[in-house]
Amino acid sequence: MIFSDFGMDTASLAGALELKLAAVRRAGFSQVMIAASDVVGHPSGVDAGVRAVRESGLRVTGLEMLRDFEGLDGRLHAYKVDVAKSMLEVCGWLGGRRLLVEASTSTHAEADADAIARDLRMLALLAIPLGIRIAYKGMSWSRTAKDFSAAGEIVFRANCPNLGLAIDAFDVLASGVALDDLDAIDPEQIFLVQLSDYMWQDVRSTEEQTATATHFRVFPGEGAHSEGLADFITRLDAIGYCGDYSFDVYNDDYLQMPPEKVAARAQRAAEWLGETVLRRALPIPNMERLRPAAPG
């Protein structure tokens, strides 16, 4: 098992940024997804937040989360471009190589495919001088891309080398997107895969799905969909995905537990995935270059 393929997310953990990073590291992880608010909200300022991340020795999987970016006009568009530039700069300071972008849920966003592609293309071009890739994630309650398949079509239309997909297992499990759709995706276009499970067997409404996604996720192996999750990952492996897996577990209960305890759960999840699901062989040395470089 390649433990280093898996990473935690600072949004899963309570406490100060330094304590979160230490917990992640102590649980054996070598990479971490950074929630922007953890850095810019550092009590000693952004610089201290950036320093904490860089000195943690952890590789930055990426920065999250740019929301409601695409499909806007005029002043709203200009405002979101400013927000995006600020996030790209923070990502650059951290030595991060990916910015995670969620498909827009804004009622102001138009659903015209060309406009959405043009905006994402602009975002990708902004990211090029900073060496950052844009991972665009479809969500079932988005207005612009409801699943990875729709997001994939937009990414294809925008056609920019540093624009690709983030695929969230939760969205696949909860929306019942056909796994066969993965076969149509170029594995090189998948920049990030996020993993989580949840406790209920079924989510009925969009409202329930949104609430579950933002409050009640659990780590892989802890929820009710281990089988579905295993199928999903096996399928990704089969199409040739060999990038990072990040645990995007947002759970209100975990935010009331010591970060070490939560990180230990993440460690068990990574072990469960590696040993039970993936049984990955050692990578071929030349495949290493497909992985993002270590932070500078």
């Binding site: 530039k85 602009m122 071009l125 090029i128 001088p129 060496g131 540093n162 270059r289 470089a293």
Partner: protein
């Protein structure tokens, strides 16, 4: 009618900005005189000082080089150090403001005006690393240097070029697997087009070549060698290439002026090109066999 429109559309998509060569290239250094010495050996003459900043203008033929020793006052721009750094290049376009606005709409980062070496309102965007790219227009009608610079009395403001040297290209080092990103950047914003691998200039057959839409200027993108692929990516403009119709004759002229050229088994002067040794720790120039089109003869 339709055909004429089509042709116009093709011409516009080929050169959307009216790109017309390089107006100047800028170095940043805290030791401007040391770099000046290197430039003078290469045939450049100091012709003007900036009116208010520690910035100098060197020239030969149609080539202008700005040496900037002014401390930078915005992030992500070059802070002058003893080791000179290639800090900017200026592209000539039909309408600088229009080109600048278009670049921003496409996703370029603009630079606040006060950060630049020039006082004229020359719009600029961030390029690779800490470098900038300026947009200059009206280069035919008047000289942008007249406003910012005071010519040194008694100095010929238009010194001839040695061996017909002219700006040919810039070599840019990029991170591992980053070539496609930079191709996209230069293609989108400026209309550069990648050349097939079979087209090669000079003596270093590495990297990917991008041709400017005016077909007189090239960018060469070079990724790190295999063992260095895991090192943190330091992306920057590495060196300037000068075109010359007779490389070996120009090498002869420059050697007589004290310029040294690499003469190893792998890299040595030939009629295709030559590479100088590094001066001041980082400054090297490349000569490339190139005969400019008759429409733009070197002065």
């Amino acid at each position: 009618m339709t055909n004429a429109l089509d042709r116009e559309a093709v011409a516009a998509s080929h050169n959307p900005l009216g790109f017309d060569g390089i107006e100047y290239i800028e170095f940043a250094t805290s030791k401007p005189q040391a770099l000046g010495g290197v430039l003078e050996r290469m045939g450049f003459r100091l012709i003007a000082h900036h009116r208010s900043r520690e910035v100098e203008l060197y020239r030969q033929g149609r080539m202008n080089i700005i040496v900037n020793a002014q401390a930078a006052d915005v992030p992500r721009t070059v802070q002058p150090t003893e080791r000179p750094v290639l800090s900017a290049f200026a592209v000539r376009v039909r309408d600088a403001d229009a080109a600048f606005r278009r670049a921003q709409e496409l996703g370029a980062w603009e630079i606040p005006v006060r950060a630049r070496a020039m006082e004229l309102n020359i719009p600029a965007i961030h390029g690779v690393g800490e470098s900038l790219i300026y947009f200059v227009d009206r280069h035919d009608e008047f000289s942008i240097y007249d406003v910012d610079f005071r010519t040194i009395p008694g100095v010929d403001p238009h010194p001839p070029s040695l061996g017909g040297m002219h700006f040919f290209g810039i070599v840019q080092y990029v991170g591992a697997d980053r070539t496609a990103d930079w191709v996209e950047f230069y293609a989108q914003i400026f209309g550069f087009a990648p050349l097939p691998d079979s087209v090669r200039f000079g003596i270093l057959p590495k990297g990917l070549l991008l041709q400017s839409p005016c077909r007189t200027f090239y960018l060469q993108l070079i990724e790190p060698e295999e063992p260095a692929r895991y090192a943190p990516a330091e992306e920057h403009l590495q060196r300037v290439g000068f075109g010359t119709p007779d490389v070996l004759a120009t090498v002869g002229i420059l050697k007589s002026r004290g310029v040294e050229f690499l003469a190893s088994e792998r890299v040595h002067a030939s009629d295709r090109g030559a590479l100088t040794t590094a001066s001041l720790g980082s400054v090297m120039f490349e000569l490339v066999h190139d005969v400019p089109a008759p429409s733009a003869p070197p002065r």
